[in-house]
């Protein structure tokens, strides 16, 4: 036991002696050697191992094995000696290490495993990195790479260090301290609710405006091409939803407007004054001679937007009729009369034709009688026979003529006259009640007629 201690102490640096920088953190070196010197071998083992982690020299691992041997933890010591040989085969004390390995193997073979170092409670700052620690630099100084909570110095480790405005131990945004360790606020470059965006600056129109709202109409920030921006999509509140000031002609429909097409042109569907293009909207547009803003007749400008007067198609005071002022009943009557007149006119020659049949028969018979009379000088009897026959035919034709031929002819004449008269009257009625009023002249200029 004394030999082991002596060996360990022989290896240990003199107390207070400064170890070369390459040996590892001086504080750790000092602490490890102090533990060994104070014969706290079990405490010294993890310190030398921590030292070896930070400065991987064979001697650190070898000293860890030596203090384990001094602590009589044969199993741990054997493992560590073997590790030395495995990691550093050309270690200058390899022969000595081999002897120790054989010695310990003999002891183990005899069942002598020595003692077991107790598991020491590990705390942050004891140089030994255990699960749950990212690092352990043996101190409680923040910002030196390993902070006091044994996490690497960085944003989100919960330690407020240089360059950080805050550090809430997480990288979540909007919880008061954002993922870039700046206080959650507009302009910190982190878009967190209720921010639409956050470009880390207060420049408007660059995609993300002041107030952390996206550049555009309706974000409450007047940007390029906007006359105003009240941050809402209401029209008529002074600034309309298209970010133009509320007024007729800005293209945004608001109360009191029938339409708004964004221009002051008349006759394009929405006239100046934001009233739909139509007769009676107070704006004279194409096809209108006047427009007094109402559809009353007789007030100077009638409901068809023509000046009050005879011939404008509107019957007003002092007029009994108007061409083009259509009366459907009269139009229907006109149509009927026209049809009847046409029927009578067409039927008249037919009736005349039938009525003329006995007339023609009589003419033929009369001619036969005259022919027979001309032949009477040659053969009176024969001529009388022919004439008698012709007389019978003539008499029959005359009877037919008198009974229905003549009346039919008269009816044909009357039908013709009546048909022409009715047709003419019907056509006139039809025309008067269906024809549109004469088109008004296009106004040379568009003007309001109050």
């Amino acid at each position: 036991m004394l030999a082991v201690l002596a060996a360990v102490l022989a290896l240990a640096a003199p107390a207070g002696a400064a170890a070369p920088p390459s040996d590892g953190p001086p504080d750790l070196v000092k602490k490890a050697y102090a533990a060994a010197e104070q014969q706290r071998y079990c405490d010294a083992v993890p310190l030398f191992l921590a030292l070896h982690e930070r400065a991987p020299h064979a001697k650190h691992l070898y000293r860890a094995a030596e203090v384990a041997f001094a602590a009589r933890d044969h199993r741990l010591a054997l493992d560590l000696y073997r590790s030395v040989l495995a990691a550093y085969p050309s270690f200058e004390k390899a022969r000595l290490v081999n002897d120790k390995v054989r010695q310990l193997e003999v002891l183990q073979a005899k069942g002598d495993i020595g003692e077991t170092c107790p598991e020491a409670a590990r705390v942050c700052g004891d140089w030994v990195v255990v699960p749950g620690e990212q690092c352990d630099d043996g101190n409680a100084v923040d910002g030196d790479g390993c902070d006091a909570n044994c996490t690497l110095t960085s944003c989100g480790n919960g330690i407020h260090t240089a360059g950080e405005a805050c550090d809430d131990g997480n990288l979540a945004d909007g919880d008061g301290c954002d993922g870039n360790c700046t206080a959650s606020s507009c302009g910190n470059g982190i878009a967190a609710p209720p921010e639409e965006c956050d470009d880390g600056n207060a420049i408007d129109g660059d995609g993300c405006d002041r107030g952390c709202v996206r550049s555009g109409c309706g974000n409450g920030v007047v940007g390029d091409g906007e006359q105003c921006d009240d941050g809402n999509d209401k029209n008529g509140d002074g600034c309309d939803r298209n970010c133009t000031r509320s007024r007729c002609g800005n293209g945004a429909l608001q109360d009191g407007e029938e339409c708004d097409d964004g221009n002051d042109k008349n006759g394009d569907g929405c006239d100046a004054g934001c009233r739909s293009t139509r007769c009676g909207n107070g704006v004279v547009s194409a096809g209108e001679q006047c427009d007094d803003g109402n559809l009353a007749d007789g007030d100077g400008c009638d409901s068809n937007c023509t000046p009050t007067g005879c011939g404008n198609g509107i019957v007003t005071v002092g007029e009994t009729c108007e061409r083009g002022h259509g009366d459907p009943k009269l139009a229907l009557l006109g149509g009927g009369l026209t049809f009847a007149g046409a029927a009578l006119t067409i039927s008249s020659p037919v009736m005349a034709g039938f009525g003329a049949v006995p007339l023609m028969d009589h003419a033929v018979a009369a001619q036969a009688i005259e022919d027979a009379e001309a032949r009477a000088g040659d053969d009176l009897d024969a001529a009388l026979v022919d004439a008698g026959t012709a007389q019978s035919i003539a008499a029959d034709a005359k009877r037919r003529w008198e009974t229905w031929g003549a009346p039919l002819m008269s009816a044909a004449a009357i039908s013709l006259v009546l048909g022409v008269a009715l047709g003419g009257a019907g056509l006139w009625l039809w025309n008067e009640n269906t024809a549109p009023p004469p088109p008004p002249e296009d106004p040379a200029d568009e003007e309001r007629i109050p």
């Binding site: 003329a356 009589h362 027979a372 009379e373 009477a376 001529a383 004439a387 007389q391 005359k398 002819m409």
Partner: protein, 62 residues
Amino acid sequence: MKLCTTIAALSLALASACELQTPPFGRPCDAENPCPNAYLCEDGQCVPEALAADAGPADAGS
């Protein structure tokens, strides 16, 4: 124009047709239906006087 012509023709036809004139030669005749001038009633038929003279004296007409 055609309409006017038709109306005129029809009017003429109506005027002329008020009374159809049949030549008297060979027309049946008797005491109640005498023959017109220059015709004689011979054997119940109107015959020109010139031809009826050969057949005998006239028994009717005026």
